[in-house]
Symmetry: C2
Subunit: 351 residues, 2 copies
């Protein structure tokens, strides 16, 4: 008999396991009345098979949802809550979220609100999920296209990261997740930038993922409810979110990580102007982004539209527009008010 797996780390007391998902049942408690596995169209096809032979501690049921950010809404929640009642989920049930950020964000929210909260865990299947979305307790869905407007902070029983699932991802989605790894390099661990290159098959994935999660851990534990320094993780996201909203509204095909990558290109230049980020660091970030996204273009967005989107989203959320920048590689510098003129000027970075 093998010893049960041990967590690679804990983050705010949530154990994060790293390795073959076959080990998951060995670390589950045995007091669950039922298990409900939520997967989207992608993970149902490519990841679910690895789970079907596992011995769950209680009868297991499956819930299928659509894939993609468009599905991260309250209609899908309603479907999940109804399936939970139909499948007989009670206060002692477990929800297992099998997927990337959309599935873990939505499934965690549904579980944390079903019968005022039942237990759940995440099996993260994408780069973006593993290093970012599944870590840190933020869960929720979009409201009329407003990102993550309805949600809760809640802790999963555990997070499971099995790098083998990355082989199920299209290249574009692997690169998409690497944007958050680059961001973690920028705000907390410059060594990460050296580990990234354009050839996806040649990277030291285990080290890359673990070291990236370590950066997220550091900020999440310092500031669990995002009242201060956790905002550093928004580097690239102020402009990135605005680009993403514009893309959603106009039907332009742009993934979250791609938007953040473009956001980092612009915001690193803003950081040079207002936070003293050295030229060499700006170049280093550019190189990393361009290695991963050699052909990524910016949607043709009029600067005034972008400025308006930035203002609306940030003001709606927090009453002001503050940029989370960096003053050196690995050194966050948050709370910057940036003049519209400067933003307008920086948006011409690639022209």
């Amino acid at each position: 008999m093998n010893a049960p797996p041990t967590p690679a780390m804990t983050i705010n007391d949530v154990p994060v396991y790293f390795g073959d998902v076959a080990g998951l049942p060995d670390v589950l408690s045995n007091d669950y009345s039922s298990v409900h596995i939520l997967a989207d169209a992608q993970t149902m096809q490519f990841c679910a098979p690895a789970l079907r032979s596992l011995s769950w501690p209680a009868p297991a049921h499956w819930i299928a949802m659509h894939a993609g950010e468009e599905a991260k809404n309250l209609d899908t929640c309603l479907m999940v809550w109804r399936q939970l009642t139909d499948q007989g989920a009670d206060r002692h049930s477990l929800v297992v979220n099998l997927g990337g950020g959309v599935v873990t964000d939505l499934g965690g929210f549904c579980a944390a609100t079903y019968l005022r909260g039942i237990r759940f865990l995440h099996i993260s299947t994408s780069v973006l999920g593993m290093v970012d979305a599944a870590i840190g307790g933020k869960h929720g869905v979009d409201l009329d296209g407003l990102k993550n407007y309805v949600g809760v902070f809640a802790s999963p029983q555990l997070v499971w990261i099995d790098p083998a699932f990355l082989k199920t991802l299209p290249d574009r989605h692997v690169r998409n997740g690497l944007a958050e790894v680059i961001k973690h390099g920028c705000v907390g661990d410059p060594d990460l930038l050296a580990m990234i290159h354009g050839d996806l098959s040649g990277m030291a994935w285990d080290d890359l993922l673990l070291q990236s999660v370590q950066v997220k851990k550091q900020f999440v534990e310092a500031d669990p409810a995002e009242r201060g320094i956790r905002a550093a993780l928004n580097f690239g996201h102020t402009i990135g979110h605005a680009l993403e909203t514009f893309a959603l509204e106009t039907g332009y095909d742009l993934l979250h990580g791609e938007a953040v990558a473009l956001g980092m290109l612009a915001e690193s230049q803003i950081a040079r102007e207002v936070a003293g980020l050295p030229d060499a660091a700006v170049d280093r970030i550019n190189t990393a982004v361009r290695q991963v996204f050699p052909e990524l273009g910016t949607p043709a967005i009029p600067p005034e539209v972008l400025l308006e989107l930035i203002g609306k989203d940030k003001k709606r959320r927090s009453g002001h527009v503050h940029f989370a920048l960096i003053s050196a590689l690995g050194v966050p510098s948050i709370g910057h008010q940036v003049a519209p003129d400067l933003i307008r000027r920086m948006l011409s970075y690639d022209s």
Copy 2:
């Protein structure tokens, strides 16, 4: 200048104020960016006027919802979340829930999930809200008629109880709330039973409300997340909830407290059989219920239907059917499995 009001008590660190609602602004912090007051059709008409002249610490907006349990659903939540975004609510906004249990349950849930949780407070305007619904952190809404299936535990900034609002209630709704006071008498403080009589105008309301809230405080603080003894507060509710569901489904006009009152009549007899509740105590409960509800009749529900409803709801929630009974006045005795035959027999109590 008067000293600011002081709380009558705190419950799990939530201050509970008792008195003229005009004192509310004096105890609010001044770091809110906006105030959003949720009221239903009733409280908008009869209670809102008392709030319109108050000086809020930030611009105040109103949100109106329908009254009644039928409105406690996710459609209403969607309306509230949308109003919050339209009114510019951000992370520093305050939601004020002005109403009975439906408004505070739903408004608390909406606030606790808007932008992953913003601050909120309850101004409770009904007897049932003051002694029960607004106290203890449970918030949520019904899902396809399943009571409170979607919700969270969350703490308001404070609860405000102004007995003057009781004058805005129809007699029937005052009596409705007294059912929970009788229940508090049964499970925690028999003195409460002596304070209740049929003549509503002659009761010592301030004492009655405060002493009833004290009972709720005692159970809520002993067991905030309802893992054990807090279940004692479900006395009368196992059968009561089933009657309520039956009434909702068949269009029979029965309020929550009325259903609980009928539930206590039946469950006190069950308690005599399985928990040794003395005859005199059963009689005492009957007298109290009949003083407040002299003409309340039981809906004509076939025993088998009731048994099925009891089983479905309880099993769905917790995987088993356990009754929360009492073994003497003021002495809870929870976790009873009750044979269907006995339930069937006890249902004939009023024939």
